[in-house]
């Protein structure tokens, strides 16, 4: 039982627990908090794989910004506990077995073909300099495009979330 494995299992357990808890909780704020836990654990997994930059970004952007946005919205809309409404039979009868089948199949394939090659701890060090090299040389175009995407998203979010009367006045 190497240390690597223990750490992996520890972080993994937090991920799994958080994911299951997200499903189990009825109030959305509890689900949000579980999700934050999942993301933190994932950051640890990234570190185990040597992706330091990615782990940092994960914590800062995902856990620190996106999840905060979610929490704000839950608070803004005063989302309460989930009601028990009659949902769709199809989703339950067809969708869940479908997902389970798909994942079982995928797992089977993975297990058959991956073998026992091990990934050493910190296998691929993701130094920021190396990542920057890739990001601004080979992936420059996607980088610029995503910046445009963010700009659009900002504008979209502002327009969509603004109060209806104010948009109407602006149109006049």
């Amino acid at each position: 039982m190497s240390f690597h494995l223990i750490l992996f299992l520890a972080f993994g357990a937090v991920c799994v627990g958080g994911a299951v808890n997200l499903l189990a909780q009825r109030h959305p704020i509890n689900s949000a908090l579980s999700l934050i836990a999942v993301m933190a654990a994932l950051a640890g997994e990234y570190l185990l794989l040597g992706a330091e930059f990615v782990a940092a970004v994960q914590v800062i952007v995902y856990a620190g910004a996106i999840m905060v946005l979610f929490v704000f919205v839950i608070m803004l809309l005063n989302a309460g506990e989930e009601e028990e409404t009659k949902g769709s039979r199809v989703a339950l009868l067809l969708g869940v077995p479908g997902v389970l089948t798909g994942s079982v199949l995928t797992a089977w394939v993975v297990l058959r073909h991956s073998g026992t090659e091990a990934v050493p701890i910190g296998a691929l060090p993701g130094h920021p300099t190396d990542i920057a090299q890739l990001l601004f040389h080979d992936f420059l175009l996607p980088f610029e495009v995503t910046s445009v995407l963010i700009l659009i998203a900002i504008m979209g979010a502002v327009v969509l979330a603004s109060k209806p009367e104010s948009t109407a006045r602006k149109v006049d």
């Binding site: 190497s2 979610f70 919205v73 869940v96 091990a118 691929l124």
Partner: protein, 100 residues
């Protein structure tokens, strides 16, 4: 030494949890969070493969995935706010104006 397959199994499990959450949850914000969970699972798989094949572009791609996820979360939550204003509900079963 952790075999690659362990990472992939974990990633798959997270993804599956995300899909199941999408299917069984009724609150639209929770559904959104399940989507984020799916994306996270995929990110883990990217990074694992990058380590396995020593290709740093896997990690760069994770970066992009996160950017897109952020944009999508922002816009999606804005839409949810707009829908809440008109329909006064967050229950996805009642947001069915597109039915035939």
């Amino acid at each position: 030494m952790v075999p690659l397959s362990y990472y992939l199994l974990l990633s798959g499990f997270l993804f599956a949890c995300g899909v199941v959450g999408f299917l069984i949850k009724r609150n639209i914000i929770t559904i959104f969070m399940s989507i984020e969970l799916m994306l996270n699972g995929v990110n883990l798989s990217f990074v694992a493969f990058a380590a396995h094949w020593h290709a740093l572009s896997g990690q760069v791609f994770v970066f992009f995935v996160m950017v897109v996820a952020a944009a999508e979360a922002a816009v999606g939550l804005a839409i949810i706010i707009a829908v809440y204003r008109t329909r006064e509900t967050l229950n996805v079963d009642q947001l069915n104006l597109l039915k035939l």
